[in-house]
Amino acid sequence: MPSVNTKYFGTMAYAEESVYDFPSGLPAFEEHRRFVLIEQPEHAPLVFLQSLLKPELCFLAFPILVVDRDYQLGIAEEDRAALELEPDRQPELGTEALVLTLVALRDNFPPTANLMAPIVINLKTRRGLQAIRHDSLYSHQHPIEWHAAEQTC
């Protein structure tokens, strides 16, 4: 079984079929195309999106409904096509797509989540991308209030 050096948890073994494939990387990190999702019960519902290319690159993320339980997906048509999701509707959370929001922490400010550009993964193909919304319904610096009860991706 291959293993990965992680930013927070030392060396961890992972199954090849658990790798998420980001053909275009993420904006500003285009060369990072393969990630694993690390879930640790003591940190739940926080999850860790660890790059297989570089141990130092590990994003902290929440399932999007944890941050906003009423979040409405707005994945652009071209992004749905790139992920081979249904062209005429938004995917179903948790069954068709895994949707995470990346968390940023600035000095002396509470953590914020980027609800404008969630990470969307097609659960069938395990392929993902960062889907930037073209509307202005959600903030890229949404203050996090944690709803502990909601833990669904």
Binding site: K7, Y8, L26, P27, A28, F29, H43, L46, L57, C58, F59, L60, L102, V103, A104, L105, R106, P110, P111, N114, M116, A117, Q130, I132, R133, H134, H140, Q141, I144, E145, W146, H147, A148
Partner: protein, 75 residues
């Protein structure tokens, strides 16, 4: 900010070699065409914001600091 009113098919010029044409306006939004030199980067602003936000997210602090900051928010 300079604000202009344009109708579909009308353009505006920025400097000598940039032309921005309003192609169509629908309920979904305005369709804009841009003519500019090849070496000029044209980006949706959300993409730049996302790049900056990702760079910031990648500078995650030691996990201890982070989880305690998150715990404080727990409702």
């Amino acid at each position: 900010m300079l604000v202009l009113r344009r109708r579909a098919g009308e353009s505006l010029l920025i400097g000598d070699d940039i032309e921005i044409e309003l192609l169509a306006v629908t309920a979904q939004g305005a369709k804009i065409g841009i003519r500019a030199p090849r070496d000029m980067v044209v980006l949706r602003k959300e993409l730049r914001i996302t790049r900056e936000q990702n760079a910031r997210a990648a500078l995650a602090p030691p996990l201890q600091d982070f989880t305690s900051a998150i715990r404080k928010l727990r409702v």
